[in-house]
């Protein structure tokens, strides 16, 4: 018997968090006399900021270490899992780690009676508005927590790691037990009882929030398993067809790469108040993903399915409140904001303000050796604004 846990995380920002959870599941399992094994998804390397990635942890009661490793060693992906941990709830809108994959449902690998475990501040019922339905019943559990984002060199120590261990124990004691998790955390950090307590609290929380999702519950999700071209189907010299050249003013006027849209990289998106826009072009000029389409009236439409939520447009925009980043779960589609504005300017502005009021994106940022910066009206950076603009 092999128990499989997959940890879905945002590339780089949560790399250290995902790795730590995976390795600690293995350590705790081995302290319980079980055999564990953890690895990252091979195809995720090199990781890019924000792209959905995975770590895996495998636990077995009866296999030897060699047998477990042979079964679970470096693979492109696993076929199914007992627990799928989601460390950023905006990934529930789907994940697209590479070209050709399409936007895959987050619960794709959850097996019958398996569990999707989400760190979120929303309720399971709210989350089910985004998650794909399945032909069998599965479980959804949540535990509350802020989005834990660190950096390449730093791990953001905000107890999300301990909570996740407790939550995994709460779902399936065949993977790790809560006493063993607490014991390990007390042994590792004897002077910090808060760590073991956080694990226990999350353990109790998921046992309350866990609910069974019936077959067919959830949203319709069209996703076909991608069929990649075979080697003999390649063009001469292994050439790849370029994107077709097309350009016109207006929404979707620029041709774009159809086989990799990567919009699932974002956990926030820019909301534009077109009525405030001064047509300065800076958002379009600064966008590293070429998401902005100029329209015939000089405003810029956004191709949201290609936006990665990097904040550069909001930072570059010289008009206050014109471009604001809003939490991705506030949106259900990627339709053109400019067309909505043109159809009914008042309604659009009202809608944009409504999104901003409920989902304005605020999260603390950790950098370097773990210094933490909280976002105020404009982001302070060591007590100062990062921008040299006065």
């Amino acid at each position: 018997m092999i128990k499989r846990v997959e940890i879905n995380y945002r590339g780089i920002f949560q790399k250290n968090l995902g790795k730590k959870i995976g390795s600690d599941i293995v350590i705790i399992a081995s302290r319980m006399g079980r055999i564990g094994f953890s690895n990252g998804r091979y195809s995720d390397s090199p990781e890019r900021n924000g792209i959905p990635c995975k770590y895996f942890a495998f636990v077995s009661h009866d296999l030897s270490e060699e047998e477990l490793e042979a079964e679970c060693g470096a693979k492109l992906d696993i076929d199914q899992c007992d627990i799928s941990v989601v460390l950023d709830d905006t990934m529930l809108k789907g994940v697209e780690p590479w070209g050709w994959h399409g936007v895959r449902p987050i619960n794709e690998k959850v097996q019958p009676n398996g569990t999707l475990l989400v760190v979120t501040k929303r309720t399971p019922d709210e989350l089910l508005e985004f998650i794909a339905k399945k032909p069998y019943s599965w479980k959804l559990a949540t535990y509350s927590g802020d989005l834990s984002f660190g950096g390449l060199w730093v791990f953001r120590d905000d107890l999300t790691h301990e909570k996740t261990l407790g939550a995994v124990a709460g779902i399936d004691s065949d993977i790790i037990g809560i006493e063993a998790a607490e014991g390990y955390l007390r042994y590792k950090t004897p002077k910090e009882p808060a760590r073991a307590e956080a694990a226990r609290l999350a353990y109790e929380e998921v046992r309350k929030t866990v609910r069974t999702v019936k077959p067919g519950e959830g949203v319709e999700w069209k996703h076909e398993i991608p069929v990649l071209p075979k080697w003999f189907e390649f063009m001469e010299g292994a050439a790849v067809p370029a994107v077709k050249r097309e350009f016109s003013l207006g929404p979707k006027g620029q041709s774009r790469n159809e086989t990799f849209k990567r919009g699932t990289t974002k956990n926030q998106r820019p909301v534009v108040r077109f009525d405030l826009c001064t047509k300065c072009t800076l958002c379009w000029l600064e966008c590293p993903d070429q998401c902005f389409d100029q329209t015939d009236d000089g405003l810029y439409d956004i191709a949201y399915e290609y936006c990665t939520g990097c904040n550069k447009c909001a930072q570059a925009c010289p008009v206050k409140e014109c471009i604001v980043m809003v939490d991705e779960l506030q949106f259900t589609d990627d339709s053109s904001p400019w067309e909505a504005y043109k159809a009914n300017p008042e309604k659009y502005t009202e809608w944009a303000e409504d999104r901003k009021s409920t989902g304005r994106y605020i999260h603390p940022m950790v950098t370097g050796t773990g210094l933490e910066f909280l976002e105020g009206e404009l982001v302070p950076f060591g007590g100062k604004r990062a921008s040299p603009k006065k």
Partner: protein, 328 residues
């Protein structure tokens, strides 16, 4: 595709920038990737009559996930150290095809790009060779100060003191990146009298500066070289939203000199000498990034001193570390 004339005119204002993209959306770069902006800007102003090669690096791997690409113009991957040689091959091939009448005799831009490891360290000899030819080619080195594709290893162009996978700060040895940043643009300009145009640039600061430098280089013909400075949110450790501002900090602090050398004349496009615009303290640049979080004030003073020295003591600031001629 209908043949289009190449435009080399100076772009006077952001509203005059061509709207059409030839490096389009759908690439696997980081959020807020400045190098993607560099790619996008050079091909935007070079136009559709351009062929591009790119050596291995972030901008190769991120742009070619299996069988998918954001490029609209012809683009070819070449090996890590082959930026220069592939540029010669491409330019020579185009010249031969035109001479033999196989393709129409019309200007076609040949651009090769390479990263700071591929261009500044490993492929330096190839680029040096390319700059001694008389072919019309442009080599762009996008410098994110690390081997960013393989999770940030130090290169000869990483800033002194920076944390990388190869140079992690420890309790005994705080500074592991002890090498001073290699001055590739200056080296190539000083060592290659045949090279018609050498410039350093940053994709976002000063606005339009980089785009116009690319146009200028392409108009001159070749061989030409541009070194761009690309803040990397992943490896320099700052929030992606700041990637266009960090470059501005680096340039204003004088750490990264902006100049162009046309026919032996140095023109500072952002003059950091005290007699001109002056410099902001390097501290402001360093403290904005996580990779310098381990530096202590003495380290910052040391970097500041070397930067001051470069701007005030060198005969040609930022280009050649020479402080005059000794009398016999």
């Amino acid at each position: 595709m209908a043949t289009e004339t190449i435009v080399y005119d100076k772009i006077k204002g952001v509203h005059k920038i061509p709207l059409e993209e030839f490096y389009t959306s759908g690439h696997r770069t980081c959020q807020g990737c400045e190098s993607a902006t560099t790619m996008r800007a050079f091909i935007k102003v070079a136009g559709p009559r351009t062929v591009v090669t790119g050596s291995t690096g972030c901008m190769y791997v991120a742009n070619t996930s299996y069988m998918t690409t954001p490029w609209i113009v012809p683009w070819m991957h070449t090996q890590l150290g082959a930026g220069g040689s592939s540029a010669i091959g491409m330019a020579a091939g185009l010249r031969a095809l035109k001479r033999k009448g196989k393709i129409k005799d019309e200007p076609i831009n040949a651009i090769a790009f390479c990263g700071d490891l591929g261009g500044g360290d490993m492929g330096l000899s190839g680029i040096s060779g390319a700059l001694q030819t008389d072919y019309d080619l442009l080599i762009i080195m996008y410098d994110n100060e690390s081997a960013a594709n393989t999770d940030i290893q130090a290169t000869g162009l990483s800033t002194y003191g920076a944390q990388t996978t190869f140079t992690p700060p420890g309790s005994k040895h705080r500074i592991m990146q002890k090498r001073w940043k290699k001055n590739v643009a200056g080296m190539l300009a000083v060592g290659h009298p045949t090279c018609k145009y050498v410039a350093t640039a940053c994709a976002t600061f000063p606005p339009l500066d980089y785009m116009n430098k690319v146009r200028k280089a392409l108009a001159v013909g070749g061989p030409t070289f541009i070194h761009t400075y690309d803040p990397c949110p992943k490896g320099w450790d700052f929030h992606p939203r700041y990637s266009h501002e960090i470059g501005e900090f680096g340039i204003k602090s004088g750490l990264y000199p902006l100049f162009e050398i046309i026919e032996g004349q140095v023109v500072y496009t952002y003059d950091c000498r005290k007699t001109a615009k002056g410099r902001t303290p390097v501290k402001e640049f360093l403290e904005a990034q996580g990779r310098f979080a381990h530096l202590i004030p003495e380290d910052v003073d040391y970097i500041q001193k070397r930067v001051d020295d470069m701007w005030e003591e060198w005969d040609i600031p930022g280009v050649a570390p020479i402080k005059g001629v000794l009398k016999a």
